[in-house]
Amino acid sequence: MENEVKLTAKDFSSDQEVKWCPGCGDYSILKQMQSVVPELGIERENIVFISGIGCSSRFPYYMNTYGMHSIHGRAPAIASGLKATNPDLSIWVITGDGDGLSIGGNHLIHLLRRNVDLNVLLFNNQIYGLTKGQYSPTSEEGKRTKSSPLGSLDHPFNPLALALGADATFVARSIDRDPKHLRDILAKSHLHKGTSFIEVYQNCNVFNDGTFLNFSDKKLKDQHIIHLEEGQPLIFNQGKQGIRLNGLKPEVVSLEEGFSANELWIHDSSDATKAYILSRFFDDTMPRPFGIFYQEDRSSYEEQMIAQLERAKEHMGEGDLDDLLRGSRSWTVD
C-alpha cells in the first residue's frame, strides 16, 4: 500500500446493522475477527468471506471486505472455485453445524482432502437457530427439540474427528467466550498453508442456551477444559490434573498425588494418531481440548493446479487459439 495507514477493527466493520439475537455468541466471534484481521497484514480488498445459510452465515454482511452470502452448504465449493482462480486472496468460509455438516457435509470433507488454502470457521451451536430450534447433526442423542419432542435418535458428528478423517491439514477448536484464545487461533489459521478447519463452540442463547456452559462458566471450565500448547504437557484444572498416555490409552492422572509433569503426554500437533485420540475426548470422562489438534505441511490444491498449468505450457508451449481451432488434421477446399 502506498501510504501505510494502519487499519483498525472499525475499518472492517461494514455499515450494515448486525441482526443476531442479543446475547448470541456470534457477536463475540465477529468482534474477534474484526480485531484480528488488521493484525494479519492483508489489504482489505484481498479478504473475502463466503458463507452458506444459517445464523452464522450472515457474517459476511458485517465485514467490510469482499463477501458472499451464498446458498445452504455450498460455501466450500464456491470458495474453492474462487481460490483456484484467485490464489492470492485470503478466503474465510463461515459455516455452522447445519450448513457445514448436514446439507454441506459432502463439500466440507472434499474441501479438506483437497487442501485448498482457505480457512473454515464452523460455528457449532448444536442446534438449528435460523429455522427456530430443530436438532442439528451435532446435537446430543436424546435432545428434545421441536422436531424431536421425544428426543433425537441421531448420533452426533464429532466435527474434529470428521475433519481428521478427511485428512485436514489444520484442525483446531476454540470458543466464543474466550476472545483471546479465539483471536490466537484465527491468526494461526491464517498463517497455515492449506485448509484450516476451526470448530468454534458458539452459544445460541435462544434455542440452546448453556450447551457449552462446562467450557465457558468460570467455576466449571477449569475442570472441563484442557488447553493444547505445542511442546507442553497436557495439564488442566489449574495444574492439578494431567493426561498420561498408557500405550494408546489416555488417562487422567492427578499431579497432586505423585505424578510429575515429565510423565504426561506432551502435545505434538504433527502427530496424527495423537490428534485423533485427542479428538475422541468427547464425553464427560475427559476434559475437552481447545487449541490446535493437528497441523501438517502439505501443498495446497491451487498451488498444484498452477504448477500443472505451468508444466503444460512448458511441455506443449503456450496454447495458440488458431492451432486449437485447426486441430491435428485439417484440409483445404479450393
Binding site: S14, Q16, E43, R44, E45, N46, V48, F49, I50, P60, Y61, M63, N64, T65, Y66, G67, M68, H69, S70, I71, R74, P76, A77, I78, A79, S80, G81, L82, K83, A84, T85, N86, D88, L89, N106, H107, H110, M305, Q308, L309, A312, K313, H315, M316, G317, E318, G319, D320, L321, D322, L324, L325, R326, G327, R329, S330, W331, T332, V333, D334
Partner: protein
C-alpha cells in the same frame, strides 16, 4: 472384372459388439472421406452399458456415416450399407436397412453361440436364409484376419482384435479410398507398441487386398463435394463446445474455469478441456454436480469465466445454484448435453426434453437466457455466443446441446481467431462510489473483482435493495427487482441478428420451426417438400430465451406452424403461449434423432389438412 459406379451419397452403418472397435473404424472412415473432400455427417450409437454382455443385442455398438458429393445435413436415414460383425448386430439393424441394400457380414459372428446370444432360435441362422434382393458380402473376416496375423508376434487371444481394421480395409477398397489417413493414425496411436501397430497395419492391408482379389465386385466412386472454399476439420459437438468456451475466454481476456462432475454424455467436454492446460484452462472435477456449478460461481465472482457442463439429472441438481447466479448477476455458462429422461432415463440416447427445465425450471422468478446448438460444429458458436451474452450482460446462460450433437461429427469450416467477435465484460476498475446493483441502460450491473481496492462489497442470495445490493425485505423493492431482472434478460434480445429463414418463401402455408439438433433433418425434409411444390418454409431458433423480438411477426406470415421436437412437445407450448399461434408438434421420443422422411410426411399431412 471390377466395375466402378458413381454415387452422389452413401450411408453406411457399422455395427458390432462394443468390444469390436466399431467406433474407431467408423471415425477412421469419417476422417478419410472428409480429407478426400466429401461432405459428411456421423452418428455414433453406444450401448447403455460400458461392457454389455458380449454378443447380445443390447451390447451392439453402432456408427453411422452419411457422406457424399453433395451437401450432407444428417447422418442419413436408412443406411445403404450395413456392416454386421455378429448376429446381434445384424438382428438389431437389418430392419432399418434400405431395400436392396448391401450387407457385409462375418460368418464367424453367426456361429451357434452368437446366434443364441442374439436371440435367434436353435437352427435359425439368417445367413442360411438370406433375404432376396439384398446384396450380401459374406466375408470370413475372422479366418482371413487370423491368416494375416500369422507372422505377427501377437498372443492368440489378441489376434482377433484387429478384425475391425480388416473390415475397414475392405470398405476402403469398396469406396475407392486409400489407407493413408488410417495408417498415419495407427502409427501415431501405437508408437510405443510396435506389435500392435504391425497387427493393425497388416489387418487393414489384408482387408483392402481381399477386396482386390475377389471377382465380380462393384466399387463405388463418390466425387468431392462442392463445399465453400477454406480450411476444414472434422469436429464433434463436445469438441466444438469445449473450443467455443476456450475461444470466448481468450477473446475476452479472462481465465476459463470449468467445474464439472462426470456424466454421460457431457464428460467429453471435461476431457477436452482438461487436456488444454497449456491454454490456461482450469478444470475442477468436483465432488458432485452442485459443487461443480458452485465452484464455477466462485470463479466468476473472482473475475474468471466460470463454466460447468452436465446432462439432465445433473442439471436438476444445479438448479438452486443457478438461481443464486441469477440473483448475484454474475456471468456463468451452464451446458446441458441433454439425454433421454426422465430421472436417469436413457443416458446414452439423445432427447430434447430439458427445454422447459432450462427456460422455467427454478424456484422464484428466475429468468435465464437459453441458447441451443443445432449441429456438431454449431456447438462452437453456441458456446461462444453464450459466453458473450453471459459476460456482456452479467447473467448465467444455459447452452442446450444433446447426446446426438455431442458425439456426432461433421466437417467444419473453422474460423480464424482474429475473426471472432470481441467480448467486453463490464468490469469496474476505478474506485469511488461503487453501487453493486447500479445498472446501465441495458440493466447490466458492473463487475467488481475481489482484490480491487475500494470496491469491497457483499453479494448474496437474499433479495437486495435496488442499486446498493443491501439485503431488503421491502415489498415494493422486491417487485421492482423481479421486474428489473426480467427486463435485463429481455434486453439480451436487442443484440440478436435479424431472424432469417433457412429456406422457403416469406409467406406460405406451413412454417417448420425447429431448435437444436433437428436442423439437418428439417433442412432435408423442407428442401424435398419445396421440390415437390409444397408451400413451406423453414426457420430454426438459436435463441430460446428470450425469443427474438422479430419472431412474432415472422410467424404471422404462415397459416400453420409445425414444430418437430425430440420430446413430448415443449417449444410448441412456449410458442403457443407467447404468440397465440396455431402451432403443432411433431414429437419423437425414441432416443433417436429424426429421419428427414418422418418430417416430410408430417409436412405433407399438414399441407393437405390445410387444403
Amino acid at each position: 472384372m471390377k466395375e466402378t459406379q458413381a454415387l452422389r451419397k452413401v450411408t453406411i452403418h457399422f455395427a458390432g459388439d462394443s468390444g469390436d472397435g466399431i467406433q474407431l473404424a467408423g471415425s477412421q472412415f469419417a476422417n478419410t472421406v472428409a480429407l478426400a473432400g466429401n461432405d459428411l455427417s456421423t452418428f455414433p450409437d453406444f450401448p447403455a452399458e460400458i461392457r454389455a454382455p458380449i454378443g447380445t443385442v443390447s451390447g451392439v455398438s453402432g456408427f453411422q456415416i452419411n457422406f457424399g458429393s453433395e451437401e450432407i445435413h444428417t447422418p442419413g436415414g436408412r443406411p445403404d450399407v450395413l456392416v454386421a460383425m455378429n448376429a446381434a448386430a445384424y438382428r438389431k439393424n437389418f430392419a432399418s436397412l434400405k431395400p436392396a441394400g448391401v450387407i457385409i457380414v462375418d460368418p464367424a459372428g453367426f456361429d451357434k453361440k452368437n446366434l443364441r446370444l442374439a436371440g435367434y432360435d436353435d437352427e435359425e441362422n439368417p445367413l442360411d436364409n438370406k433375404p432376396a434382393d439384398y446384396q450380401f458380402y459374406e466375408i470370413e473376416v475372422t479366418r482371413l484376419n487370423r491368416d494375416a496375423m500369422k507372422d505377427v508376434d501377437i498372443p492368440p487371444r489378441d489376434r482377433d482384435r484387429s478384425r475391425n481394421m480388416f473390415v475397414l480395409g475392405f470398405i476402403y477398397f469398396l469406396y475407392n479410398r486409400n489407407l493413408e489417413v488410417t495408417l498415419n493414425f495407427l502409427e501415431d496411436k501405437f508408437k510405443t507398441k510396435p506389435t500392435v501397430l504391425e497387427a493393425n497395419r497388416k489387418a487393414l492391408q489384408a482387408g483392402y487386398n481381399y477386396g482386390d482379389t475377389i471377382e465380380a465386385i462393384t466399387r463405388y466412386r463418390i466425387e468431392k463435394a462442392k463445399l465453400p472454399a477454406g480450411e476444414y476439420r472434422n469436429v464433434t459437438g463436445n469438441q466444438a463446445l469445449a473450443m467455443g468456451l476456450i475461444a470466448a475466454a481468450k477473446k475476452s481476456g479472462l481465465e476459463l474455469f470449468y467445474g464439472s462432475y462426470p456424466i454421460t454424455p457431457a464428460s467429453d467436454i471435461l476431457h477436452e478441456l482438461a487436456a488444454r492446460k497449456n491454454y490456461g484452462v482450469k478444470t475442477f472435477q468436483a465432488e458432485d454436480e452442485i459443487a461443480a456449478i458452485s465452484s464455477a460461481i466462485g470463479a466468476s465472482f473472482g473475475g474468471a469465466i466460470g463454466t460447468t457442463g452436465t446432462s439432465g439429472p445433473g442439471m436438476a441438481l444445479k438448479t438452486e445454484a443457478l438461481g443464486l447466479a441469477m440473483m448475484l448477476e454474475l456471468p456463468l455458462i451452464v451446458v446441458n448435453v441433454q439425454r433421454g429422461g426422465p430421472s436417469t432415463g436413457l443416458p446414452t440416447k439423445t432427447e430434447q426434453s430439458d427445454l422447459m427445465q432450462a427456460v422455467y425450471g427454478r424456484n422464484g422468478e428466475t429468468p435465464i437466457p437459453v441458447i441451443a446448438a443445432s449441429s456438431p460444429s454449431d456447438c462452437f458458436w453456441a458456446a461462444y455466443e453464450a459466453t458473450r451474452i453471459a459476460l456482456e450482460h452479467m447473467t448465467p446462460v444455459i447452452v442446450l446441446s444433446d447426446g446426438y450433437l455431442a458425439n456426432s461429427s461433421e466437417p467444419w469450416l473453422f474460423p480464424k481467431a482474429a475473426d471472432l467477435a470481441e467480448i467486453k465484460p463490464p468490469f469496474r476498475k476505478e474506485t469511488g462510489t461503487y453501487l453493486p446493483y447500479g445498472r446501465d441502460e441495458r440493466e447490466v450491473r458492473e463487475w467488481a473483482i475481489p482484490g480491487t481496492p475500494g470496491l469491497e462489497h457483499r453479494l448474496g442470495g437474499l433479495e437486495k435493495e435496488d442499486k446498493t445490493g443491501n439485503v431488503s425485505y421491502d415489498p415494493e423493492n422486491h417487485e421492482l427487482m423481479v421486474k428489473t431482472r426480467a427486463r435485463k434478460v429481455a434486453l439480451v434480445a436487442k443484440d440478436y441478428p435479424k431472424t432469417e429463414l433457412i429456406q422457403g418463401p416469406d409467406k406460405a402455408e406451413v412454417l417448420v420451426l425447429g431448435w437444436g439438433n433437428t436442423l439437418g433433418a428439417i433442412k432435408v425434409a423442407v428442401g424435398e417438400a419445396i421440390n415437390q411444390g409444397l408451400s413451406v418454409a423453414q426457420l430454426h431458433l438459436r435463441y430460446i430465451n428470450p425469443l427474438p423480438d422479430d419472431l412474432g411477426e415472422l410467424l404471422s406470415n404462415y397459416k400453420r406452424i409445425l414444430i418437430p421436437e425430440l420430446n413430448d412437445g415443449q417449444l410448441v407450448r412456449i410458442i403457443r403461449d407467447k404468440y397465440l399461434v396455431q402451432a403443432d408438434v411433431l414429437d419423437k421420443i425414441q432416443g433417436k434423432p429424426f429421419l428427414a422422411e418422418e418430417i416430410l410426411e408430417a409436412i405433407k399431412k399438414m399441407v393437405n389438412y390445410g387444403e
